[in-house]
């Protein structure tokens, strides 16, 4: 533990350097600027970012590239690729030949990542399929209840997310409400919980509003005259939708996808409650590595990989919506 606390001098130096560079940057930006005094307003925030965002990230980076003794190493990333790596290292140290276990590469970590990406993709797709028509109908000018419905979509999000998920449990259990109902109707019992589908359901339930809002926003902001013009020019409603409404709502779709996909990849808790702990998602894996397995170095490496992946997919999405103005939630 003590070895873990003490930073080698180079790490401290690096952090100080980053801090200094940042301060210089801020000062430069202020000096060059005409709106001199106003830029000062952002100074407390700059400091805040450095302390509570940049330094913590540097810490993650530090742990990801060091071992328990604080020495530089790439082993943590090897452990991501081969989940047996740490174990085999320990076995060799104990004088046991890892080959005797017939152990090939351990794929647990990579599999978990692939599974999480797959689940997040499925969740995003389902949310899009359910959410787009809902947003479209709500944004309809002839539909007066639209704005009220938006509020109805927000309210469930104000209930605690853990409680919302647990509420599903009482519906899906073997002796839960749905099965009790099935039984009363003389139908066979269905296995609704403790599997990936239940996890997916929980995810869609929790993230659906994040898909509906941005799409609704971009649809309701659209200039009505455009669709009218399209109709006047002889396009039927379907063609109008395809050629006018849909392309114009694309920014909303992009930010909806972003807002659903990001949190879904690192979902944790839902697999434990609705999936019965039968599958792990990447968030669970990071948590387990940090807490139960008490391995901060590998945990940090996993977090770093997660972040890089998310930044990559984000920049991909940015290409579709370069201005990033697809309407946030607001």
């Amino acid at each position: 533990m003590n070895g873990r606390m003490a930073f080698p001098p180079w790490a401290t130096a690096l952090m100080l350097l980053a801090l200094a560079a940042f301060v210089v940057l801020v000062v430069l930006s202020i000096r060059r600027n005409r709106g001199f005094r106003r830029t000062l307003f952002s100074f407390p925030y700059s400091l805040w970012i450095v302390v509570f965002t940049i330094i913590p990230l540097l810490l993650i980076g530090y742990y990801a590239f060091t071992d328990r003794m604080g020495q530089f190493t790439l082993d943590n990333f090897k452990t991501f690729w081969d989940s047996n790596f740490e174990m085999n290292k320990q076995l060799t140290q104990l004088g046991f030949d890892p080959a005797a276990l017939g152990s090939a590469r351990g794929t647990v970590n990579v599999d978990t990542l692939v599974y999480s990406l797959w689940m997040a993709l499925a969740c995003t797709l389902i949310c899009l399929l359910i959410g787009y028509p809902a947003a479209l109908f709500m944004a309809d000018r002839n539909f007066r209840l639209g704005s009220t419905l938006v509020i109805l979509f927000i309210i469930p999000m104000w209930m605690n997310f853990l409680l919302r998920t647990i509420a599903w449990m009482s519906l899906l259990e073997d002796n839960g409400l749905i099965n009790t109902l099935l039984k009363a109707l003389g139908l066979p019992k269905a296995q609704l919980m403790y599997n990936s589908q239940a996890v997916l359901l929980g995810m869609v339930y929790n993230y659906l509003p994040f898909m509906v809002f941005p799409i609704y926003n971009s649809l309701s902001k659209q200039d009505r005259r455009l669709t009218e013009a399209s109709m006047d020019l002889g396009a039927n409603p379907a063609l109008t939708f395809l050629k006018v409404t849909m392309p114009l709502s694309l920014p909303g779709v992009v930010s909806g996808i972003t807002m659903v996909f990001m949190p879904s990849v690192t979902t944790f808790f839902i697999p434990r409650v609705l999936g019965g702990g039968n599958t792990e998602m990447f968030g669970d894996l990071i948590e387990r590595t940090f807490l139960s397995a008490d391995n901060w170095n590998v945990g940090s490496a996993l977090s770093l990989i997660m972040m890089v992946l998310i930044l990559l997919s984000l920049s991909l999405l940015r290409k579709v919506d370069p201005e990033g103005e697809g309407g946030s939630m607001i």
């Binding site: 320990q90 104990l94 351990g106 002796n175 403790y194 019965g276 894996l285 397995a293």
Partner: protein
């Protein structure tokens, strides 16, 4: 803007000062397992001693140890299990208890007085003990349940709850294969993991969970479950169709002790709290509430036949002798964790 800032700052200061104010008198910061004390006992202690109890909970030894390591000084009394005590002693996380201030520790049963995990009995006082076994629904099992084999039986496909805890679940598999629950032999651990992976792939396991299991068994959500004896007793009280058995292959017997972290800020109060929990009438209150086995001879005498005749709470010496304590396995922990990862992610 200035006014707002002043207001904000004073509000912040006030709020952060609130907990400090509450700590003006004597306090003891207690870190115990989830649902592991009769809450009346806390109130009684506060009333009798005037010491305020800050009560905190954890669910896994591993989580608890991370907390104790990373927040030194936050806790005065902690309730780790046997192997965790051994680990914490090795990491210098504990301070010796001044037994002159804990006279009631004398009530401890003889066989728990100098346990393997704390050989000189300097750091810990036993709080509760129990076994690991199978809780089953007598109306739905096909045939007698007296072996770990039942958990791996395909008849019970989709009806078995396992524990979401690497040591307990791998330990049971090791025991079933005839090995020690403390095995450090990689091949044995691998065999145990393969057994569990097979069990999962055949669809026998319904879920891996810890504290949820007891309520689910009461509700009839599963037929068999791997549980601790106290959870079993809790479930049996609510649903008489359930029964508990320590399989014939032997099992794990465990003790949760009370310890004082090295950096504890109120060791005196901690000792007073530990002593209070060792008082026979208090130990009885706790034992009857939690329904694990009591290490307290005084409390057992008070509870009389109702306790001594209950096989789950008071297993025969033969059953105990057939069981093993967990030992600290730090040098092979990465093996357990890695194989556990494979079990959890087997498809």
């Amino acid at each position: 803007m200035k006014k707002l800032a002043t207001l904000l700052l004073s509000a912040l200061l006030l709020l952060s000062a609130l907990p400090a104010l509450a700590q003006g008198g004597g306090v003891v910061n207690v870190f115990n397992w989830e649902d592991y004390i009769n809450e009346d006992v806390i109130a009684m202690f506060e009333e009798e001693t005037g010491i305020k109890v800050n009560y905190m909970r954890f669910t896994l030894n591993e989580d608890m140890m991370v907390q104790v390591r990373t927040s030194p000084g936050a806790f005065d009394v902690v309730f780790p299990s046997d192997y965790a005590i051994e680990r914490m002693i090795a990491e210098d996380l504990l301070q010796p208890i001044d037994f002159a201030k804990v006279p009631n520790a004398e009530n401890t049963l003889d066989w728990l007085k100098n346990p393997d995990y704390d050989p000189e009995n300097r750091y810990s006082v036993p709080y509760m003990w129990g076994t690991v076994g199978i809780l089953y629904d007598t109306t739905r099992v096909k045939g007698p349940v007296d072996s770990w084999g039942a958990l791996f039986d395909e008849q019970y496909k989709g009806e078995v709850f396992m524990m979401d805890s690497p040591r307990d679940t791998l330990g049971v598999a090791l025991k079933y294969l005839g090995y020690s629950v403390n095995s450090k032999n990689p091949q044995e651990i691998q065999a145990a993991a393969n057994l569990l992976i097979g069990q999962k792939q055949k669809g026998i396991v319904k879920a891996y969970q810890v504290d949820e299991t007891k309520d689910k068994m009461v509700a009839g959500e599963g037929i068999l479950a791997l549980v601790w004896s106290g959870d079993a007793q809790y479930a049996i009280n609510l649903n008489p169709d359930l029964a508990y058995v320590v399989p014939r292959e032997g099992s794990n017997v465990w003790v949760d002790g009370m310890v004082i972290p090295a950096q504890a800020k109120n060791p005196e109060n901690a000792q007073a709290f530990i002593d209070f929990l060792c008082r026979p009438d208090i130990a009885q209150l706790n034992c009857e509430y939690i329904e694990y086995s009591s290490p307290n001879a005084g409390a057992i005498a008070l509870m009389g036949e109702e306790y001594t005749t209950n096989e789950n709470l008071n297993p025969s010496q033969e059953t105990i002798d057939n069981c093993e304590f967990f030992h600290d396995n730090n040098d092979v922990k990465v093996l357990y964790d890695t194989f556990w990862g494979m079990v959890k992610n087997a498809k």
